[in-house]
Amino acid sequence: MTKLPSALKLTASALALALAAGSVSAETIRWARVADALTLDPHSQNEGPTLALLRHIYSTLVSRSVDGTLEPNLATSWEIHPDDPSVWVLKLREGVTFQDGAAFTAEDVVFSYERVLHESSGFRAIHADVTGAEAIDDYTVHVKMSGPSPLYPNNLTNFFIVDKDWAEANDVVAPQNFAAGEENFAVRNTNGTGPYQLVSRDPEVRTVLEAHSGYWGDAPEITEVIYQPIPEAATRIAALLSGEVDFVQDVPVQDIARLEQSDGVKVVTGPENRNIFFAYDMTSEKLRSSNVDDNPFSHPEVREAMALALDRDAIRQVVMRGQSQPSAAPLPPFVNGWTEEMNAYDAPDVDRAAELVKSVYPDGFSVQLDCPNDRYLNDEAICQAVVGMLGRIGITVSLNAQSRSLHFPLIEKWETDFYLLGWGVPTFDSAYVFNFLVHTREGSYGAYNGGRYSNPEVDAKIEQIATMTDLDERNAVIGEIWNTVMEDRVFLNVHNQLLAYAVKDGFNIEVHPENSPTMWTVTVD
């Protein structure tokens, strides 16, 4: 009785050894996701799946680790110039080569700056404060800013470095220009310094990468990456369960419980850098969709009532199946400026909320809620739940759920009274939220301030923190801004999204807050 199992064990361990031995030489991961990278051009599309794939081929100067902190990559250090606070000094890594064998030097960084600031680049806005980059020697670059920018290195985590000579030889000194009507060579060809290089690509079908032998860092355990977009959720999960893929990045919340019970598959979850919230037009005289003659959202009582009516825990349990972190402010927990208090939210109090609404509008009021239905996790279902919750306090909400390509223009054109929006903070600093969502809309400020919130005092503070170099003082001002924003109830925040990755047993993958998993850090049991 005892002999047989031990013999089996021996065979099993021998088998495991053989497998482990195999894993050192070659390990393939088949990675499925909802969408493909749109292009392989590193400066064209500032879009999640594109960045996630390109990160394997091209490297950035600075990387974002899974806990949200900055890590050196092609730049080994970055500091403010001792004599000029508006200049960043970047020291570059030596001995790095591109996949075509060319050496990586400061002129490649300078060239990449020119390319990323080009008119047809999708990343221009991220580097809007950069006035120029200069190579001091082969491994030192000075980046000149329009003013002191103490947190600028946070903007480098999606800035890919290309080889100047390669780009010039292939006539790709600028990213794809759609109006030109020609395909850019860089759309399908790559030359980066990253851990993997491109083997083949059939857009929207399959992209194959293999380890780049000249990579400066440790050789990855995963030596081959096969990337397959599978848009249909049921098919994506079926492909994992049938063993045709090893890693599914976008797992629908309703499938998580079932996958956890399936043999040979595990689910890992973690917070995403994205908050989901409602915002409303607080300043117009009259709403477009309401049955009352003034603007209900201009009354603090109504805003308070809505906050009291929102049952975040119910949304978490019923709509999100537990996959969310309810919170009161639109800021993910790892972002600078976040405080414990932001996670504290009032317990719902329907009676009190109904009274508050009644005190202003005895008969209640009606309004339209605009909601995307293909952008965030269960976005439409969240809206439906809120329609019901507001209905209980006398606010009759009609829901207008539509595709994101129809939803976002409403916010930009100020054609919505009340809307759902999700916001990620790629710079990991509150200023990013303020610039886009809180500052009065003017120039590059307030592009997503669909609520028309406008507070000159807050605006002045937002402009002030952009150039403050003393980080403690700066954080104090950030705290003041948040206090005002929370007191004014500019946002009706719902929760922070959680990400779920499903992976075949044997592979260890960490959830990346930017939803940009890195295959070269994957370990194999």
């Binding site: 221009r124 049921a234 790629p426």
Partner: protein, 328 residues
């Protein structure tokens, strides 16, 4: 005859232009591609600038005229989404859709014909009744559900067949890739072909059965029976032959629908064809791909209809005078 063909060709061109016009008018309701093309950091002026560069601010009539002008020269522009020439993208995906459509149409025709004949000849048999009832399910179940069910049974539970994709393909010439020549390619075809062909199969089966029953009641069949011809000669030599004219017409027309409606099947099975390309393009509001795709589908329908009309003309002498005169 030549006048008829010329007239039909002119009509086809008008149909194509009408389809292009209607689709262009509809694109306005799909949304604004700029939000997919630029990241969330882009300022309002950046967006406006790109909109200008792409000519999206021009009146719809101007955009339409520009599209027609370019399309007439074979230039369908660059995909907003995948940044590749649209004509090349569609040509790359077309073989996958064509092979899938061909296999499912053949499958639908052969099985539909066989089952139709069987159920017509053994009208009261138990098996016939089972087939007829089952065919109701085939007609009424949505393609999406059938696809998911098949994936669940044959890919996840039994693991006999792949759940998605086209398997390994072989390149033939510059413009064609085929999955017929590899084992994984052939295996990958089975589930999508059944899913796509099931509806057409039940349709053909019911049509064959109804037509055959009709013909079997006619006098010349009774007469043939009375002459003592074998059942085989009567059923297949006389009855079935006369059944086939409408069946072939319908099958031909359905081929266009199979190509056009492959969208759902392609989405479920992640089949890299033009239908999946179209769906992804709609999500992104990739106007160049959407317009080119709709033009292609219109062209396919127009060509099939033209061929069917010409076949009528050739096959059925009674139609010649009538058709040419009416020129509908």
């Amino acid at each position: 005859m030549i006048a008829f063909i010329i007239r039909r060709l002119l009509q086809s061109v008008i149909v194509m232009i009408a389809v292009a016009a209607v689709s262009f008018a509809l694109f306005r309701f799909v949304g604004d591609p700029i939000y997919s093309m630029l990241g969330q950091e882009a300022s309002i002026s950046d967006r406006e600038e790109l909109r200008d560069r792409l000519g999206l601010n021009d009146p719809i009539v101007v955009q339409f005229a520009r599209f027609l002008g370019n399309a007439a020269q074979g230039d369908f522009g660059i995909s907003y989404r995948l940044q590749m020439p649209v004509a090349e993208l569609i040509l790359q995906r077309l073989p996958a859709t064509m092979e899938l459509a061909l296999v499912s149409a053949t499958l639908a025709f052969v099985t539909g014909l066989g089952l139709g004949v069987y159920t017509a000849l053994r009208r009261r048999g138990i098996l016939s009744n089972i087939i007829m009832t089952a065919s109701l399910i085939g007609v009424s179940l949505p393609t999406f559900l059938i696809g998911v069910l098949l994936i669940w049974v044959f890919a996840v539970e039994l693991r006999w067949l792949p759940s998605n994709g086209r398997g390994a393909v072989v390149q033939i010439g510059n413009w064609w890739t085929t999955g017929f020549l590899t084992t994984s390619g052939r295996l990958a075809l089975i589930l999508p072909a059944i899913t796509l062909g099931l509806y057409q199969m039940t349709l053909i089966m019911r049509l064959v059965r109804a037509e055959l029953l009709e013909v079997l009641r006619t006098d010349y069949i009774k007469f043939a029976r009375a002459r003592g011809l074998s059942a085989r000669a009567v059923n297949f030599g006389h009855a079935l032959k006369n059944t086939l004219v409408p069946v072939i017409t319908i099958t031909g027309l359905q081929l266009g629908s199979i190509i056009a409606f492959a969208i759902i099947t392609e989405t479920v099975f992640n089949w890299p064809g033009v239908g999946a390309l179209f769906i992804n393009s709609v999500r992104f509001v990739d106007v160049p791909v959407m317009s080119a795709y709709l033009m292609m589908i219109a062209l396919i329908f127009v060509v099939i209809n033209l061929i069917v009309d010409l076949l009528y003309y050739a096959v059925d002498p009674r139609l010649r005078v009538d058709r040419a005169a009416r020129s509908h």
